[in-house]
């Protein structure tokens, strides 16, 4: 036995080395093996994400199986993620290697403020250009912003297929839908602000729509949970501007939920990820980011996590192809670019909010 032991460990060494070499994904540069090697030494990767752990877990498990690296996945809301990340970065006490957040604007701000490490992913070619911010921050998902409605309570004829339909519905049946429409509150929710400002850019009659919403006494919430729950219960019947991913997973459990992707334009939101420049495990971070963008990772995003894949070459339920099937070319991805961080400009923001508040009063 004493003889066998060094032999066995030597064998194991050879095998792991072999495995690592074999793991360099097709089409990646050869020196990627060194990144993998370094990542194995790091042993783990720390991820802060806004995607709830239940969904993220599919990715985490597969990634762990693929590379034998441990993933410490922290499930936080976007504000918490931001607060925690900047404080930890300032303290130099170690923070996330990868942050992955649905607050696109905050992510770009972090990248601009120098918290992100530039890294050109080998998957870059397969990623749409709108989802690549200076080879630093990448959109990972392709989530249509949907209108959800209660199938029991909204007659088929009333279901809005476009933003214009919704405007007409609210203008003609104001009383019937009084208090029945709901959306994210742009004042209290970063996502809400992002979506409504994008509508402002994409839809000529946006402010007419907002005013009609105000006249219909639209109710505003801070979380998707509160919105979807109240649409299924019938307290409200139409939910405007909901992440398609959340609506999709809910509709599978509850047949009452109907989902519409507006045919005039459908906003596409994307969860943005980047590598921290304070990463303790930078190589493992690269592996995880590349994995999320890879075909393998995106296939899981499309079929298990149900967050919608942004790669054209991925098959499944929550994919670009499926979105296009419904709305054709009326897709309008929210570009991951410097304009997003202008969203956070205080003066612009307060001005928009003031106008919004007036619209909510109907004028």
């Amino acid at each position: 036995m004493k003889l066998a032991l060094p032999l066995a460990s030597g064998l194991a060494l050879v095998m792991t080395a072999g495995l690592a070499a074999a793991q360099v994904p097709a089409g990646y540069p050869a020196d990627y093996a060194q990144t993998i090697e370094a990542a194995k030494k790091e042993g783990k990767v720390v991820v802060y994400g806004t995607t709830d752990a239940a969904a993220a877990n599919f990715l985490v498990k597969d990634f762990e199986a693929l590379y034998g690296l441990k993933v410490e996945y922290n499930d936080l809301n976007s504000t918490e993620l931001y607060n925690r990340f900047i404080a930890e970065a300032a303290a130099g006490q170690g923070t996330a290697d990868v942050t992955w957040s649905s607050a696109q604007d905050l992510q770009i701000k972090l990248a601009n403020d120098g918290y992100a490490a530039a890294y050109k992913t080998p998957e870059a070619a397969a990623i749409p250009s709108w989802a690549n911010y200076k080879d630093t921050a990448y959109g990972v998902t392709y989530e249509p912003v949907a209108i959800v409605y209660n199938k029991r309570l909204v007659p088929e004829g009333d279901v809005p297929k476009t933003h214009a339909d919704l405007l007409k519905l609210l203008q003609t049946k104001t009383d019937a839908y009084k208090g029945k429409v709901t959306a994210y509150d742009p004042e209290r929710s970063g996502v809400g602000y992002l979506f409504f400002t994008q509508d402002d850019l994409a839809f000529k009659q946006a402010w007419d729509l907002f005013k009609a919403m105000g006249k219909a006494e639209m109710k505003l919430y801070t979380s998707a949970g509160a919105m979807i729950e109240r649409v299924t219960s019938g307290e409200h019947t139409i939910g405007y501007g909901v992440f398609g991913s959340y609506a999709l997973s809910r509709s599978k459990k509850d047949a009452n939920i109907g989902i519409v992707l507006p045919k005039d334009y459908t906003l596409i939101a994307s969860r943005v990820a980047f590598l921290s420049n304070k990463a303790k495990n930078p190589n493992a971070g690269k592996l995880f980011l590349d994995y999320m963008l890879s075909k393998r990772g995106q296939t899981i995003i499309a079929n298990q996590a149900e967050l919608y894949s942004l790669r054209d070459d991925v098959q499944g339920e929550a994919t670009v192809a499926k979105v296009k099937e419904q709305v054709g070319d009326a897709i309008r991805p929210i570009k991951i670019d410097a304009d997003l961080s202008a969203n956070l400009d205080t003066i612009k923001r307060l001005k928009f909010i003031k106008q919004w508040q007036a619209a909510m009063k109907g004028n």
């Binding site: 900047i86 970063g190 979380s223 509160a226 109240r230 219960s233 997973s249 509850d254």
Partner: protein, 557 residues
């Protein structure tokens, strides 16, 4: 040998630094123009200016005052009536009513609020039923009035606790004397017992009023649809108002809440000093005969049950029902949507399982450790005739002025920027410390109250036969306060088990707790899981409560 005075000052110093560090950081932050840890931050009063000029702040403050005042006006009379019925009369079913009365303390406000939405919301189960009968729903639970009423009802136990303790300390002979002079039981209650416990009642009233200002969960859920803002939810809104979290603005709101708290603590001290302290009747507390209610027995029982049903029964029923259906609301036949799948999903969801285990751990072990800390603080301040106790009183109260979320953020900063604490950040210890500090006021008052019930001569006897103050604390005070400390442990366990906001910034993988997990799932729309988790949380709390009662723990009195 360690002098007891040294111990006192050491504990005071440790407590002071544990309290002042996070608060000091917040106050410091309020005078800066950006996060305190970024380079080039400057001193400025801009944050104060912004908040003072913000109409929403004044709206929120006004609403907070209305809610705090209203809930005090509701909770105090009800709490006093309940305390009187249970402590003094022959109302039936006391053994079950006494623990039930406390239950609202242990219910997460968010869970209760969501339960109300399911049960009494515009399309809630009871609402649709009533609508079916009379054609309309005669109430709205999203108004300031509704928030005030619900907050008032859920805070009844606080008043009950203080009043019933005071009633129990009241000599029976005082009431009997009044009876023999010809006063009816009701008259005795109004003219003798009530005036005697007035200081305790006023004390509780001040506490409730203050708790009204840090109300968060209820207005967060119930104020959401109509945009009703109170101070704590205004603070939450500030996070997003400028796009990027603006700590200096949040800090200003916390400073405002502290400024409200200080005169209230002063008022409480004043009341306490007038109430002749808590010293109970020594030695032979005669077994007193309860006042006979006669024909009013069952109506009195009914009143308590009615309160309980409205405050706990209805929302718990709501959340319970929600956890067993796929959907609900107008036009849904509940029998067609029943399911067990939410619980099955929960079992498949590793974080939920971790959260359940961690919640029990932090409740049981963390609760025990916290009580040990509260005991040290109480012992250090116990019968200390010194001006330092005044400082201690304020110190203990201050963390209450920080909403849990802010307290958690401040604790994160401390663990990040104080070198001795850095290695402990990613451990459950950080969460525990944050919980322990946030609940300092509640916990020390529990333990200190028990210690004050011990006749001082029992401790003096120890000193006179040759034991140092430290020995007396170990050999007399602590053993005699043991049952009270166990009760405190149970109460702290229940409170830690329901906590949801404080730990959010400190949690990592493997250290999830149910409360924070619910908040995070709520954000992504996974209400199915939230409702199942909430039910499990309620089950944990009920089991804890049941076990405690089974073991003969007296939770109060």
């Amino acid at each position: 040998m360690l002098r007891f005075a040294t111990f006192r000052f050491a504990v005071l110093a440790i407590m002071a630094s544990a309290v002042i560090a996070p608060i000091g950081l917040i106050i410091y932050q309020s005078f800066l123009d950006g996060p305190f840890f970024t380079p080039n931050v400057k001193w400025t009063l801009e944050a104060y200016q912004f908040v003072i000029e913000d109409d929403e702040f004044w709206d929120a403050l006004r609403t907070s005052i209305i809610v705090a005042g209203g809930m005090t006006a509701i909770a105090v009379p009800l709490g006093v009536i309940l305390a009187f019925l249970l402590a003094r009369t022959d109302v039936p079913g006391k053994w079950i009513l006494e623990p039930l009365v406390l239950v609202p303390i242990f219910m997460s406000a968010v869970v209760l609020a969501f339960g109300y939405v399911v049960a009494l919301g515009p399309v809630g189960i009871f609402s649709t039923f009533v609508k079916g009968m009379i054609g309309t729903v005669p109430w709205s639970i999203y108004s300031v009035t509704a928030i005030t009423i619900i907050a008032g009802l859920t805070h009844v136990p606080h008043v009950y606790l203080y009043t019933s303790a005071a009633l129990q300390n009241l000599g029976a002979d005082l009431e009997e004397a009044a009876r023999t002079t010809g006063a009816s039981p009701l008259r005795v209650a109004v003219t003798v017992s009530l005036p005697m416990v007035t200081p305790a009642v006023l004390y509780a009233a001040v506490l409730i009023f203050f708790l009204g200002f840090e109300l968060f969960g209820l207005p967060l859920v119930l104020g959401d649809p109509k945009g009703v803002l109170v101070l704590a939810t205004y603070l939450y809104k500030l996070t997003n108002k400028l796009g990027v979290p603006s700590y200096q603005l949040m800090a200003v709101v916390v400073v405002a809440i502290i400024l409200i708290a200080i005169p209230l603590v002063y008022l409480q001290r004043l009341l306490l000093s007038q109430s002749n302290k808590y010293v109970s009747v020594r030695g032979k507390a005669a077994k007193r005969a309860p006042l006979r209610l006669g024909a009013l027995r069952w109506p009195a029982f009914g009143l308590i049950i009615l309160w309980f049903v409205v405050t706990v029964g209805i929302p718990v029923f709501g959340i319970l029902l929600r956890s067993f259906v796929t959907t609900w609301g107008e036009g849904v036949r509940l029998s067609e949507v029943l399911t067990l799948s939410h619980y099955r999903d929960l079992v498949d969801y590793p974080n939920a399982m971790h959260a359940i285990v961690n919640t029990i751990l932090i409740g049981v072990i963390g609760g025990g450790l916290a009580v040990a800390c509260y005991t040290a603080v109480s012992l250090a301040m116990h019968r200390w005739r010194s001006g330092w106790t005044r400082l201690a009183d304020y110190l203990v109260m201050i963390p209450r002025a920080m909403p849990g979320l802010v307290a958690g953020l401040a604790m994160l900063w401390l663990f990040l920027f104080l070198p001795p604490l850095q290695p402990l950040r990613a451990t459950l210890f950080s969460v525990w410390l944050a919980y322990t500090i946030v609940w300092l006021a509640y916990g020390t008052r529990l333990v200190a109250g028990t210690m004050l019930q011990i006749g001082p001569e029992l401790e003096e006897a120890g000193r006179s036969v040759g034991a140092t103050a430290g020995r007396v604390a170990r050999d007399v005070t602590v053993p005699l306060a043991r049952s009270g400390m166990i009760a405190a442990w149970v109460l702290i366990f229940l409170i830690f088990a329901r906590e949801y906001s404080t730990g959010i910034y400190l949690l990592g993988p493997g250290t999830e707790v149910i409360g924070s997990l619910m908040v995070s799932l709520w954000g992504t729309g996974a209400i199915d899981l939230v409702s199942a988790l909430a039910v499990i949380n309620i089950v944990i709390i009920s089991v804890g409560l049941g076990l405690a009662l089974r073991l003969g723990v007296r939770l109060h009195g």
